[in-house]
């Protein structure tokens, strides 16, 4: 058997600095940068005169597209308008179906009873009784909390966007696997698209297309498409070569090979992609409320802005429940086994779920003519009539009680929370922020550049340099450093919280059974939700921003630590035990070092998520890149918005390449690649 010899990285040759130890190289760069900043102001702030007005160019370009550009004699504006109008049709149909009703033919929208029953029946079909109960409770929640219509408005975009994003993703994915050129163009684009925050899509789309549901739809489709494309690529590339060859030897044409062999064989990966599309769509629809999407997201944003936190919590819970239900349903569908004992069953037995739903649908349409509550959930649940009426449940009243409780809590808790907040702000946040703002850019570029070169060689170095200079020369240094500072502190906190939790979960099955589902759920929530407690507990400022980032971005730190420890080969641990290591020694000397590459990949994910959240926290108030992104939507300064979004993605890519290169190298050394 041939031993696979791993290519060993050759140290860069013929470079005089190589003779100096690593710390010396870093020290030299730092000293050089600081000295340079003392004699040349341009090293602290890129000279105004040298700034490339890229933001202005982009804004001007989009303005030109909107007003003057023509393609083959057709005004570009008319093309986008045409597309927009064409996309409006399916949205309208979905609206008629879910909440408007078909006025022309006198048919109402789907009665809520039918929709709820449909979801529960589908849940039972794909996932059994437990899933059906979860869905049933969610439906009841949406109805009793008076959120039905808004939920349907949100679902309107979801049901139109999901098939579009899925089809587009599969098509692009297939194309990428078939064409080298397409692969070269799209693979980096997917990387970039996934690292770019949700919000950054809204401004340019809103600029080119009509403001409103169509913009939300397009932005959502663009945002939700990459995971589908990635899963398609992954699925097609990981179909076992035997299966493909078996298809070829069976005499398949290329088309048959794709449609009859490759795609169906990767069903599970594709379904995973679909699950991602659904989740991303929901997350985006909620956020798209700042660009004209109606529904729960819009109501939640409004409640947050009005500080009606009780209502906001009710709406936030609704969004989260919908997210959980959609997640579980698509997952259950992906793992649903095909029943092979269909023969010998009657038509009714085979289609009992469908028939039941059709029955309820017809019955509820008829019943809706007589009972209003079948059509639309009642806003108050009242028992009895006349003077004997008792209000069983009133969501609005509950919300007001919650509001009051939160305010009372705030008054009491303020004396405890505020000193902590002040202390952290004065002693940690402000010094770190001031450090990053003081930092001369040559030091930043030099340190990251040296790291990139040592870890990943020339390609990574060149990429990182290009990305770093992109925000320096366009005059975004200060905003980018503010984002860097926020994200680094948030990521550090995530690691401090997440890694011990991950270790704890890895050591105790019982703890894992509690922590891991919580992690799943936290990641299912649209990121918007995390603003509620932050605003509730803290006032504006970076402290609140960081607090809002934490629950979302800690999850990967926990999960990767857990998985990293769980994946250590038992032999390695047994060897540690055999050598007489104590539990602590084993953890620090054996397990953590072996799991470290995995944990670092978790850190990588944490940073990506923290970056994504900075655009969301801009809704609370911040002065970093995220704020630029959000602001650009209303100022129509698309150039700044697009660039700021790109720079957030750039920070993510730099972190990804540095950590990724390190982890790959480390895994290679450990022989666990």
């Amino acid at each position: 058997m041939t031993e696979a010899t791993a290519p060993s990285r050759t140290e860069p040759q013929g470079f005089s600095l190589s003779a100096i130890p690593l710390w010396g190289q870093f020290a030299a760069i730092i000293i050089f940068g600081v000295l340079l900043s003392l004699v040349w102001d341009g090293a602290t702030r890129w000279p105004e005169a040298w700034v490339i007005p890229a933001a202005q160019w982009i804004t001007d370009f989009i303005e030109w597209l909107k007003s003057e550009a023509t393609i083959f004699g057709v005004e570009f504006k008319d093309i986008t308008r045409g597309i927009g109008a064409a996309l409006k049709a399916p949205v309208k149909w979905a609206e008629y179906l879910l909440y408007r009703g078909f006025k022309g033919i006198g048919l109402g929208p789907l009665p809520w009873v039918a929709v709820a029953a449909g979801v529960v029946i589908f849940a039972h079909w794909v996932g059994g009784v437990r899933l059906a109960i979860l869905c049933g409770l969610t439906m009841i929640y949406l109805a009793t909390f008076n959120l039905w219509k808004d939920s349907m408005k949100t679902m309107t975009i979801v049901i139109v966007a999901v098939p579009m994003a899925a089809l587009l993703g599969i098509t692009l994915g297939i194309w990428v696997t078939r064409s080298k050129t397409a692969s070269r163009i799209f693979s980096p684009m997917f990387d970039l698209m996934q690292a770019t925050p949700h919000m950054a899509y809204l401004a340019p789309v809103a600029a080119l297309f009509a403001f409103g549901p169509v913009t939300a739809l397009i932005a959502t489709v663009i945002f939700a498409m990459p995971p589908m494309a990635r899963c398609t690529i992954l699925g097609l590339q990981t179909v076992s070569s035997d299966v493909i060859e078996a298809g070829q030897m069976s005499g398949c044409t290329k088309r048959q090979l794709l449609w009859k062999v490759a795609l169906p064989s990767s069903k599970r990966t594709l379904m995973l992609g679909l699950n991602q599309v659904v989740m991303q769509t929901l997350a985006m629809v909620v956020i798209a409320s700042i660009a004209g999407a109606t529904g729960l997201g819009h109501k939640l944003l409004y409640s947050l802005q009005q500080l009606r936190l009780g209502v906001a919590i009710e709406q936030g819970v609704a969004i989260s429940l919908i997210a959980i239900v959609l997640d579980r349903l698509t997952q259950a569908y992906a793992y649903k086994e095909t029943d092979h004992f269909v023969a010998g069953k009657t038509f009714v037995q085979r289609h009992k779920h469908l028939l039941l739903f059709l029955g309820i649908l017809v019955a509820s349409y008829i019943a809706a003519e007589f009972f209003r509550w079948v059509k639309i959930p009642p806003s108050k649940f009242i028992w009895g009539s006349g003077d004997a009426k008792t209000v069983l449940f009133d969501a609005k009243l509950l919300a007001r009680h919650m509001d009051q409780a939160i305010r009372d809590f705030n008054v009491v808790a303020f004396d405890y929370i505020n000193p902590i907040r002040d202390w952290v702000t004065i002693w940690i946040l402000l010094p770190v922020r001031d450090f990053f703002l003081w930092l001369p850019w040559p030091v930043f570029v030099g340190v990251i550049g040296l790291g990139a070169w040592r870890l990943g060689g020339m390609p990574v170095l060149l990429l990182c340099l290009a990305l770093m200079f992109s925000f320096i020369v366009t005059g975004f240094w200060v905003e980018t450093m503010k984002t860097t500072y926020l994200v680094l502190i948030a990521a550090a906190l995530c690691v401090i919280i997440g890694v011990p939790l991950g270790i704890w979960a890895a050591r105790s099955e019982r703890v894992a059974n509690i922590i891991m589902p919580i992690c799943d759920t936290l990641q299912t929530f649209p990121s918007f939700i995390y603003l509620i407690p932050a605003i509730m507990l803290f006032r504006i400022g970076d402290f609140a921003n960081i607090f809002a980032i934490l629950p979302y971005a800690t999850v990967p730190a926990i999960r990767y630590t857990y998985l990293g420890l769980k994946r250590i080969p038992p032999v390695t641990i047994e060897a540690g035990i055999a050598n007489g290591a104590t539990r602590m020694q084993r953890l620090f000397k054996v397990e953590l070092p072996v799991a470290l590459p995995e944990i670092m990949l978790g850190l990588n994910q944490t940073i990506m998520m923290a970056l994504a959240m900075t655009a969301i926290t801009a809704l609370i108030g911040s002065t970093d890149l995220g704020q630029e992104v959000v602001r650009s939507i209303s100022t129509q300064d698309f150039g700044r918005g697009i660039l700021a979004g790109f720079f957030i993605a750039a920070l993510g890519i730099i972190a990804d390449r540095l950590i990724g290169s390190w982890a790959a190298e480390r895994k290679r050394q450990l022989g666990v690649a």
């Binding site: 076992s240 299966v243 060859e245 030897m249 069976s250 005499g251 064989s265 004992f341």
Partner: protein, 347 residues
Amino acid sequence: MPTDAQIKCRNLWKVFGDDPQGFLRRHKGNPSPEALKEEGYIGAVQDVSFDVNQGEILIIMGLSGSGKSTLIRCITRLNDPTIGEMEYEGRDLLKLSERELIDLRRHKFGMVFQNFGLLPHRDVLENVAFPLEVQGISKADRVTRAKAMIDLVGLGGRESYFPRELSGGQQQRVGIARSLAVEPDIWFLDEPFSALDPLIRAEMQDEFIRLQSMLHKTIVFITHDFEEATKLADRIGIMKDGRMVQLATPEELVLNPADDYVAEFAKNAPRERIVSVGAIMQPVTDAASGTVPMSAKIGAVAEQVLTSENPVAVVDESSGTIVGSIDRQTVATSIFGTRSSEGTRAA
């Protein structure tokens, strides 16, 4: 017997690297191993020529990385050879259009894969019917045909099972049924039993022998298991580092290995089942008592010879004449002797 050759391969090369065509052209179609190494090319198949004869079982054997899988993929055009000539029944395989190639695969070729290559989303019946389906054969016809194939491999009653619900051996039976569904002229088997447990493997080998005794296909069979090769083969081609070092009957391989590499394989071979009496007989002697047929394997006559005081006469069955003799000593040495001499050499 050149007329019997169903497939002819001449000077096949499959080279992996940046520009394999140019590389082979530079070296006039015959680069040295040093040149390959120096320029960073990998010669998966190097200058291989052989024929596959009508109705024979040709086994191609070698360790992993020896190029045997690449070779079979060249013949089936799953991978195109870099240079070389290949003919199937007189037609140039390399000049086939896409359409002709698909036609050939639909009607003439059948292939079985190491990891079965079953379509996970189709049940047994649909898997077996798949090659018929892509040809556009009507549903009723293909179901009938597929059911017959499923019965043939002994999986009747499991038509609606999915691959994941079957054991490895059962899955490979489905693979076999599928490859036979189109009634191919040539049957390619790429390490069909390597992924199976030893017991199941032996069972499947017997099954294979049973099928072949009914079907009489021309077969190209890949394995890394010399014992399997000797059990099933008419002829064995041994590959090493992309070259075919010897192509011969199992008996010739054992008796006259072309080099140390082949000898190394042959050393553990069950000689008693491979070597025939005719190959080791001595001249005719008068002292002989009793007769054995010349083509019999030693194992089959060992008991008779070893229990006989005198040498035993060897008879050519076709003419009925006595052509030589065989005694205890010869039988003993041919079964055990070489091994002991190997042992001393090693020491």
